[in-house]
Symmetry: D2
Subunit: 469 residues, 4 copies
């Protein structure tokens, strides 16, 4: 994709039973950095009280040795996030930490509640005050209800009130909690370090970095509570394996290829997506090239399936980060070229198949094609390893407004013209399901097929207050 | 004093009816900077919603043009504070802003509730969660109680529950509120700008900077509500002018000499303190010198009363701020000398009266005397414009633990030896009252005479949870 | 390689005839960033005088809009460099700019003079003073000799005195100069922008970014002078195409794969190196994987030649830059894993051929093998697209001391043991020459075969003053 | 003054024989900070080579523990300066350090050569190159002339060529050098630390901070050379005590009041200036107030002589440094008020004598009067402790262009109107001489009386190249 990046709401991490809990969480968040580049935070519990540091920026900008030393304790949770509002505000950064009647509690979550407005209005009516617009603060308010006898009661009661997508980690005094909505929209994995510490993470790539072993996923609808006596589970919902909603786009784009997500290797799935793409959209050509690095695996799969040689036709500039670009060169085409430069000698005179994971607005793809043609490509065939995006996500991903999506603006033949390609091929819903070896009942593909597994409460609010903020 | 500074909890400012409310608040806080150097914040209300920016640091480090532009609106409140915990934490910075059932509310306060723990425990028992340890958050929780019909009800009910010292400013949607406890411990003034905007400020020096006119103080026990129709008051307590507790130390040390505080000129009062000091503790000498700038006014008063010439015997280094001092020079004596260097030619061979406002631990004063003797002073007579500090303040000032105070560690003759002075003289309680022209019933002088006007609830808490944090 | 990076002394850029000369140079340096990450600078000439800004850091950290605006003019030169001394010193940053009798002059160079000490001693004997240890300052001193009649005389005389490797750019008032030593060790290309401006650059990737067309290389031994009337050349040496010394390591490692260097595509040459490697060191295996991104092209070449499928077995973390790594995780193995994580599902149970460009000390390679084995690789075969490094470079590359090089410490079978690989294969000198399609007389391969094209004067200095600093 | 500050070109410091030479120099520069706020640097010599760090900013912004550790050695020189060009350029920061045929040399100076252009042109004609526009670089070039046999020869020869004002410190390998022009324009003092280290400093306030004893001044025309065997002197000029040019403005404004300068106490001289001012310009009034802190000492002197009480009528805001001031308050009057606020209760209804050291452009003084009148002053009488400024300084002080000076723009009665004062009085030349107890032949007062002790060469340059840069 390499476009205006889609914004996943977040990555979470938790650990219990490690003397350097903050250090490990820092590393875990570093591994999950791709899930949220705009803010990060860590809360630790030292047996007596919690310690918090969070700020805007990248994980390695926010933390340093001194900051981590100021976060003592054997348990911790952490979070990386995208802020949708002004980049300088730390108000909505997570984890969210509070005192309440049972001590201290901290929450970090990935996903989006579809009844957040309803819950908030209800809580405010009973006197609650809100310092942020984060779902995490709602969750803590629900946990703090005085009617619950135990924290287990509070957990079950709270989770039952929450509708939508959430993979969350909590610290409740000395207990580490992990929980997932009943559809399992977002991933959440359980691992264990050689010395015995338990770890929770959005993706297993964090386990690799820490030398932790992947045990299993937190199941859809499961609440996991971990303390020094081990791991226990609560199941506030009855299980229904035919009504799941694993986010297919985690495979296509979000997760790291070296992670296991929903129990499967993301890298291998991406190769499979490329193979299926080659089956559905074959074309005679000289070379297959990926858009690095988002198209790397699918391009290898396409090449294997088609027998057309894989080559590196675009090189990635590793210094492009928050680069200042001088005003006199500030056009979109230029921004494309500063990131990925064609290798002319590879491209020149060739029929080129370009493989990428997805197209959102289409402007980046269009400029990419232009640079390939300028580099001498004889033909350019674009292959995309998922269907066209046409609908919003209510479960934690910030797509542009549907009116800005390429596939809602143009029919397929005009897309071809817009991009100026010789052919275009998107993988089908069926192709994706073949690639993951799964059936429709297990995956959420609403952004492509508009089938939303979980009803969206706030949008239906007849008083329109869902739009309040 | 010029010592380990005493830490006043805080300075507040508010404005309503000015199109550049954030700019004016920035300037107001700049004028109040001496009341809190470790964090600052501003909340504005633009007619639809509130905007907040707060951070650690000095006012002019925290705000810049862009940050102020992001704070639109005609009304604003602001705060400067000392953090008692780690300098990097922004958690307790004020104002504290929240959503609640009636819209949005923001609070900033100066002082200290003596029943904070009791209120907090009660609120938590009803399900409240606390993201900070600030009294402001407690105040908002009290305001959010669903049983109140109107915000005026909420204000009266809330203020009645609060015990201790508080001078606070609030924004409740489009209403600016100022309120003071019934003892009037901390100052809070009302002013008006030529164009009509109302302003509230801890001290009048902020009015001078803005060109605003001082109208009057918010009275002890008064709640002032300002909106576009003007100013109204509520009086939740019955007035009792014989039971006030104006903080005498505001005159002696905290407030700026160019401010009016409790309706009187701080600079003139300090001159009076110096005059009284000369009456109580005369001594033959050649020159009177101040410890700049804290002793400037009292030294002038002492000189006038005694007829002994005023001279500048110590010069202040204006670059000493957050200066790094190299390790090879890192002794206390050195730190004294880098701030204030004696003017040898003025001191040499003279009998010197040194006037300062107060002595806390005494180490700085002792080193000061040493440098004066090294510069050739024949005699050193120290004169202090208040009595010896012996007891803690529960109303918003962080004194060191009583066990560290010079006057609790030594009897007067040993203090003389410790400081190595030829004589020492502290102004008496009666001398202070003469200087302000007031009577005992109006002032809190508890840090000197242990008479606490308002009972301290948390300290008496039999469950000891007052110490919880 | 991805190891303790080899340090190329530098990248250069020049432009004449563009109204945003500083902006263009900024972009050119951005494209050349890989040739020097520790300091950068730009000098412009506005028709009356020169303007300089240089500092330590990355190009986009050093410059911003305001800094570029303060560099007016139609001509400019720029430089990126590695500092070998303390990172904070800006003393040796280039370009070096001076006033002298003929006006102003600025120099930036890539390479290393092998008679720098001799020239410096001679100049000092005549009264010269040196503010840096940079060769550029020596060059300016040579140019400033009063005996030269014209700047062309000075250029010819200066270049003749310089021994060793140098690709340099100069501004002499309103003339842009490019020059290369007679061996052509380091690259230097001439390009032209659509609007007519001439550009000089170490590599053509800078031309691509600016939309400039590659014209030709500055020839070995050529001096190019560009002003508004166009381009002229001086040839202070007689040409000898059989005695060239193009640095082969530019192809293997340094240059960007999308650049032309010495007139050839770096990417294609790297594929060829991979093909030759497959011919020289075949082995039965399941997959070929690169060490990304340094081994990408050679791995594709190896895969094509051998028919063994190319896959992505290691993923690169794009956030690893100047990452703080927490002390509790501060081992070398960890540092390897944080950069490149194996894709277990790809590696597990496979016989893996790992292709990289070079091995220097060997520790990184060894840890890489360890992580592959832990990920389940059945066999690990390492293939390197150049011979073993055994000797220092005197022409501008900072290799570690020979005693630290893996190939000088161990014979080949012990290297295999040290790395714990099932087999190891280095490409031969002959293989490299086949890959570039060239003959021995054209390339410097001294770091592998100890044949130094140009004698090293300073090292032979019998008074030992070559070691003075 | 407290106006657009006059810019003294610079403060210098040197030390030999102290194991923490860099630390001591840092502290010395800190004490001299008022002589130059825009750049600073330190060079040390460790017995083998020199180490340099310099940058723009305040001393305590530029140096920290790590930076000082990177400056080992027993001898050091340091410098603080004002940059007249762009604030971000480090090009002209001092000390200037070079290699030359006799080893290494570093120079820092205070003053201004009046034949800099002539020397520079001559040196360039012999092949010299210049990386800065600093006089220090010229000095090093002169020192590097190959014809000198010894460094003592070089010193004598170099100093003889230099015309104008210079108080300089040098390190020549292991020798610390101090030198002053034959007029003694700028101060330079010699001190000794208790442990034996020699120190050189522009003012003695640096000695106080280090605990060093003031020995004597470097005499006008003297070169002092200090090494481990002690201190020796050279006198390249014949002494003429009737042709000196001590800068009178050092007493009036520049030097710190706690310093000895030209062997006299600056503070006492300022009191004397105030006394003479009271004699020359008496007026009936109620109070004497200083413009703090520049007028403090003179106001005390005025009060003593006149018998009119001294009071503090203006308070200084200690947070005004590099304060951002919001655009909506960005008028000049405001800037005056943010720095110094009147104490109304002191001023109101009084006839006020305001004492300051000098007036340059007059705008600040005018606004100051306005705020005093607004605070209720019945009469305002301004008293200035030196004559009106009318002419430029060629010896190291950057006054505004004569056309901008208040006293060249208006006759005295219009100055009174411009400032809106009831009376104005400037001290006379004779009054100043009485205050210092000296005669005309010893002091330079050219900025007031246009008598320039040393002819200005560059200005007379008939080819106009004195204006080249």
């Amino acid at each position: 994709m390499n476009e205006d990046k889609l914004k996943d709401k977040c990555g979470v991490f938790g650990i219990l039973g490690h003397q350097n809990a903050a250090d490990m969480t820092y590393l875990g968040l570093f591994a999950l950095q791709h899930r949220g580049e705009e803010a990060a935070g860590i809360v630790t519990y030292d047996g007596e009280q919690m310690h918090l540091h969070k700020s805007t920026g990248l994980v390695n900008e926010i933390f340093n040795e001194a900051k981590l030393k100021a976060l003592p304790g054997n348990s911790a949770i952490g979070h990386v996030r995208y802020s949708t509002s002004g980049s300088s505000t730390v108000k909505n950064a997570q984890p969210y930490m509070s005192d309440y009647s049972r001590g201290q509690i901290a929450v970090a979550h990935n996903g989006n509640l579809v009844n957040a407005r309803v819950l908030r209005d209800e809580l405010e009516a009973y006197g609650a005050i809100f310092g942020s617009t984060s779902d995490s603060e709602i969750i803590i308010h629900l946990m703090a209800k005085p009617s619950y006898r135990t924290y287990e009661d509070a957990l079950e009661g709270t989770i039952r009130r929450m509708k939508g997508a959430f993979s969350l980690v909590m610290l409740i005094n000395n207990v580490l909690v992990g929980a997932r909505d009943s559809y399992g929209f977002r991933p959440l994995c359980i691992g264990r370090m050689p010395e015995g510490a338990y770890v929770l993470s959005s993706e297993t790539c964090a386990f690799d970095l820490l030398g932790a072993k992947y045990l299993r996923d937190v199941e859809p609808g499961e609440i996991v509570m971990i303390d020094k006596s081990g791991l226990r589970s609560l199941y506030p919902f009855k299980k229904d394996p035919t009504r799941l909603g694993h986010c297919m786009f985690e495979f296509v784009y979000f997760s790291r290829p070296d992670s296991l997500v929903f129990g499967k290797s993301v890298g291998i799935i991406r190769e499979n997506l490329g193979r299926e793409l080659a089956k559905e959209h074959p074309v005679p050509a000289d070379i297959v090239i990926p858009v690095p690095d988002s198209g790397n695996f699918a391009a290898v799969g396409y090449s294997m399936q088609s027998g057309i040689p894989f080559q590196t036709g675009l090189t990635r500039n590793h210094y492009v980060g928050r680069t200042f670009i001088s005003p006199s060169a500030n056009q979109r085409e230029f921004k494309v070229k500063i990131k990925l430069n064609p290798v002319k000698a590879v491209i020149e005179g060739k029929r080129v198949i370009v493989v990428d994971d997805s197209i959102v607005r289409g402007n980046t793809a269009r400029n990419r094609v232009k640079t390939l043609r300028e580099a001498g490509a004889k033909e350019v065939h674009m292959r995309i390893s998922c269907p066209p995006h046409v609908s919003p996500c209510y479960y934690g991903i910030d797509f542009p407004d549907p009116s800005e999506l390429l596939a809602t603006r143009y029919p397929m033949d005009e897309i071809k013209k817009f991009l100026n390609v010789d052919s275009i091929g998107y993988l089908s819903i069926e192709g994706m399901l073949r690639a993951v070896g799964g059936d429709r009942g297990k995956y959420c593909m609403a952004c492509w097929d508009k089938v939303y597994p979980c009803p969206v409460v706030d949008e239906m609010d007849k008083y329109g207050i869902g739009k309040k903020r």
